[in-house]
Amino acid sequence: MLNGDEIDFLCNDYQTLLSALRDELGMIGTKEGCGTGDCGACSVILDGQLVCSCLVFAPEVDGRRVETIEGLAEVDHLHPLQDSFLEGAAFQCGVCTPGFLMAAKALLDRNPSPTETEVRYGVAGNLCRCTGYDKIVRSILDAAARMNEPENRKEAP
């Protein structure tokens, strides 16, 4: 299941999930920054767990649920994290942004009201070289606050 759709794809046994997403499925939103699980640019959510897709073999995801940046927004509106990142100027070059958004989503999925420290540790697996993290952390806190407003509260997925 990829972003809610059941899909089939063919790949080589040595291909990573990252490579399958990008090279076989054309889903270029997930980025490769290092290929060794150190930068988080390739972060996706696998069965509710944040993973580096460069460290997962593509055949391993057979029958499992994968969420990528392409599935974060709804048809007619963005995810609150995306709104916050836009309004809070949480990126400069933007190449790490998909990974940060997925890491932040995984964090808020399990902890809807994180402290600043929890946010910082929640995205500590993601490198950003442009921002110094200040505006990213603020934007995640802001998104959490928006999502916790009574009219926005949703059932946990």
């Binding site: 270029i28 963005l78 100027a89 400069q92 790490c96 910082r120 993601n126 490198l127 442009c130 200040d134």
Partner: protein, 751 residues
């Protein structure tokens, strides 16, 4: 905190950036996101040795591998004579650039490209590269500045003779150039000094650390014309450099800029581009090449490691009266460290009458350095600002007060020659002194440090076009890749001029065939130089539109003025004509509404920053934690304050990484031991506090809105600010970067 002047509708506001939606949805296309049907994949064979002679290269087995379509080596590139790229003396020499792209007779660092292969899959290309047989004669490697500068050190280039010596050298050496700045009477200066501090400092090579590795897709047709899709800080320069290295004509190459995933100076030069273009030409297919992170570390960037000896003397009243600086910068395998800006910036913050600065550009068996954010200035400031801090202590004077007593101001002659024009250094010092951070209490093992920095900033050749669509929306086109929000800033300036909503303007980064030449996005130049062109183009359009309105109303042109996005008659006889009306009716008034302006502006206002850092040192582990950090910087005018703050915060955090963690580590054989983000430790979110910012606005008189470049200055003060804070917390002066836990622990146990 921003002190934005009122009266502007868009300048100084914080609109959502135009390219933002694509970047939060994963739709933005970066370098590695391009693909064409049937394209090949390229791989590079790199030297395992830091210094060796290439005796032979045997391609037989590799060429016979299934799926291999083309292989190239250094023999396939034309040999070029010494020629420097415009505006980069001591930077890019095409002869060296070519030899860095593919080694010729010698490999000069571990990771130096020796051959490149294109094959139907990446795996096939990599496997073919692995079976290329290269016979090397291993030569002794030179891995430190000290060693490289010794008289009997192995020489990398037997045709390299030191420039700038008092007498002509009679034999080659690893020192490519000496630079000297001298003024006043040093002996008299030292006599006048009541307090003197002299110290030696070292810094290690550090990488720009952009998250996006270098990537390119090249497609070269049967007619020799080619298209490159690549991420860089300047696609026009990529075209110039690539065609120069290949011996091709620039007009035969079109470069389409991808979104760029960080550059910080490191993407101002070429690595893969000529390889992919030539492989594509040989194979008759498009070729895609993407570096691994290990390749990025081993063969691109970094900035210089350095050794610096600084001596400064001050009178009892705090007046700096004499200073000397001896500086040596690693250039890597080919000449061209940023020693020039190093010697020019090291003492540039202060008005010191008697000075001698001596700088050396030194080659050694490490990757050729590339520009990195204010190239050459941060390490120099680490040394000089540490000495200033120590002088303040000896004088029993507040360190900001000492700086204020010596700060350069408008009209003061900079140490490198010219007089400063309007600058805001004093203002940054005063803001820092008066900031609550500066007076906040500290606990045990905590300390506070301050440091300042100066950067020139740059203008550069620029083309911009502003066009009005038939619905009254506008397109603002430039040719400078947008690394950090410049599209938004350019649109804001156009919106301010045209009097329309910023989101009715679409800012575009156009390819090399769609707009006139633009210098790179570098030198903190885009909001300044492209801003000037965009404002000028907007003003020309407005003049044109007023003339057209006059034509429609049959009144003299001077009776029409532009108010809130409309042409209005001053005599009020006619209803205003909107942008939309003027654009949709343009066929009757002289054709489409569009204006192109080219400039090569002077007056890029100098940038200054003063930063305050609080740290806590763990005496058991040596770990330094930054507790609080404030960046004060003169932006001239912040067009989009969010992205000005972002530049200040990002620069400061890169500097914090340089101060505390980051370094190239080589084993005794000259092989980089930490070519990955696990062991090359850049700051992560959990390492840091919020980074407070104070934007000082001392407008630059040479920009219509007062803009100064802001991209680079922020990285200059942090290393000294952190070191001074560590001293305040521990009583130990850290003179060698990085201040990693091991080094701090060593210093603490030195009692």
């Amino acid at each position: 905190m921003t002190t934005t002047r009122t009266g502007y509708k868009w300048v100084g506001t914080r609109p959502v950036r135009h390219d933002g939606l694509d970047k939060v949805t994963g739709r933005a296309r970066f370098g590695a996101d391009y693909a064409t049907a049937g394209m090949l994949h390229g791989a590079v064979l790199r030297s395992p040795h830091p210094h060796a002679r290439i005796l032979s290269i045997d391609l037989t087995e590799a060429a016979a591998m299934p799926g291999v379509k083309a292989i190239i080596t250094g023999a396939d590139l034309p040999d070029l004579s010494d020629e420097f790229a415009a505006g980069s003396e001591g930077g890019i020499n095409f002869r060296d650039l070519s030899r860095n792209i593919l080694a010729r007779d010698k490999v000069l660092y571990e990771g130096h490209p020796v051959a490149a292969v294109a094959a139907v899959t990446l795996r096939a290309a990599q496997q073919a590269a692995e079976v290329i047989e290269v016979e090397y004669e291993i030569l002794p490697a030179v891995l430190s500045l000290e060693h490289a500068m010794e008289d009997d050190a192995p020489v990398l280039h037997d045709d390299l003779f030191t420039l700038g010596l008092d007498s002509e050298p009679d034999r080659p050496s690893n020192i490519s150039r000496r630079r000297v700045i001298a003024r006043g009477d040093l002996d008299a200066g030292w006599v006048e000094a009541d307090v003197v501090v002299e110290r030696e400092y070292t810094t290690k090579a550090v990488h720009q650390g952009y998250i996006e590795p270098h990537a390119v897709v090249a497609e070269t047709g049967e007619d020799g014309r080619s298209t490159l899709w690549c991420s860089s800080q300047g696609h026009f320069a990529m075209r110039t450099y690539t065609t120069k290295v290949l011996g091709w004509e620039p007009g035969d190459m079109k470069v389409i800029p991808a979104e760029i995933g960080g550059g910080f100076g490191g993407k101002t030069t070429i690595y893969l581009e000529p390889l992919a273009a030539l492989l594509s030409r040989r194979a008759g297919r498009a070729v895609k090449m993407v570096m691994t992170r290990s390749e990025v570390f081993r063969a691109t960037g970094p900035t210089s490691g350095s050794v610096m000896r600084i001596k400064m003397g001050a009178r009892r009243d705090g007046k700096l009266v004499a200073a000397t600086a001896w500086m040596a910068y690693e250039a890597g395998a080919f000449p061209g460290s940023p020693i020039g800006p190093g010697v020019m910036t090291v003492l540039a913050c202060y008005d010191i009458p008697n000075v001698l600065i001596e700088g050396y550009d030194v080659v050694l068996n490490k990757p050729k350095v590339a520009a990195y954010r204010a190239p050459g200035a941060p390490m120099a400031a680490f040394a000089a600002e540490s000495v200033v801090d120590e002088l303040a202590e000896k004088l029993d004077m507040d360190p900001i007060e000492l700086r204020l007593r010596n700060a350069v101001t408008e009209g003061v002659r900079a140490v490198y020659g010219p007089k400063f024009r309007k600058i805001g250094f004093v203002e940054t010092l005063e803001e820092a002194r008066d900031h609550p951070h500066y007076a906040a209490p500290l606990g045990p093992w905590q300390g506070r440090g301050v440091a300042s920095g100066f950067w020139f900033n740059f203008g550069g050749e620029t083309t911009a076009t502003v066009s009005i669509n038939e619905d009254g929306t506008a397109v603002v086109m430039s040719g400078c890749p947008d690394i950090g929000g410049t599209r938004a800033a350019l649109a804001q300036m156009a919106a301010e001029e045209l009097g329309i909503d910023v989101h009715r303007i679409e800012p575009v980064v156009a390819d090399t065939h769609s707009i006139g030449y633009n210098d790179m996005t570098g030198g903190s130049r885009v909001a300044f130089a492209v801003g000037i062109a965009v404002v000028d183009a907007s003003r020309r359009l407005i003049k044109d539109m007023c003339a057209r309105a006059a034509l429609i109303w049959d009144v003299p042109a001077e009776e029409v003025e532009w108010v809130d996005g409309r042409a209005q008659s001053v005599t009020d006889a006619a209803a205003p004509l909107t942008l939309e009306e003027l654009a949709s009716g343009s066929a009757n008034t002289g054709g489409p509404l569009s204006a192109t302006v080219t400039v090569n502006p002077r007056g890029a206002g100098a940038g200054f920053s003063t930063q305050i850092c609080d740290v806590e040192v763990d005496p058991d582990t040596g770990l330094v934690t930054v507790l609080r950090y404030t960046v004060v910087q003169d932006a001239g005018r912040a067009i989009h304050p969010d992205y000005v703050e972002g530049q200040m915060q990002g620069g400061a955090v890169q500097g914090i990484g340089w101060a505390l963690n980051e370094e190239y580590i080589f084993d005794r054989n000259g092989v980089m031991e930490n070519p990955g983000f696990l062991d090359y430790r850049m700051p992560v979110a959990s390492d840091l506090p919020m980074i407070d910012t104070v934007i000082v606005e001392v407008p630059n008189p040479d920009h219509p809105y007062g803009v100064r470049g802001v991209g680079e200055t922020g990285i200059i003060p942090p290393m000294a600010a952190v070191a001074n804070a560590v001293y305040a917390a521990t009583g130990k002066r850290m003179q060698d970067l990085p201040m990693s836990p091991v080094r701090v622990l060593e210093a603490l146990s030195g009692d």
